[in-house]
Symmetry: C2
Subunit: 87 residues, 2 copies
């Protein structure tokens, strides 16, 4: 069992009102020195069996056709180790 | 200028209806072999100046108090290289 992470972010040229709202709120909350915030989506897919080239290609197709709107969003696909630091 | 990424995911014991909806739709769309999907949020923060221990600690506080609801969500903070593969 492996975990594949798909990150979907708005393209840089697309306005991100959610991120802007966060960024504008930060100084009020006492956090200075952050010049930009972008908010996107993160999908964690648990894949049965090995994650080989073919499986990654399939997940790339899936992300392109279904998880991201490629007109306005970029996405990245990567394998993640499942030993994560939960906080 | 450095980029810090904050990933916010629902805790494993919290139901994730968005992720479940994606997971249930996948076989219909021709994607088999994915046993679970969780959907979360990804924040990209552009930080002015160097990202040292103190800055990371500050961003950790920010994420804890403001970006994540720690009753139901886990979060991770990490520095990301800004050379990213846009697709």
């Amino acid at each position: 069992m492996a975990r594949v992470v798909v990150d979907v972010m708005l393209k840089p040229e697309i306005l991100d009102p959610q991120g802007q709202a966060v960024q504008r709120a930060l100084p009020r909350l006492g956090f200075e020195g952050i010049s930009d915030v972008r908010q996107g989506k993160r999908f964690e897919l648990e894949v049965d069996g090995p994650v080989d080239e073919a499986a990654l290609a399939r997940i790339h197709d899936l992300a392109e056709s279904f998880l991201a709107n490629t007109v306005i969003e970029n996405f990245t696909v990567r394998i993640e180790e499942v030993a994560e630091a939960a906080k």
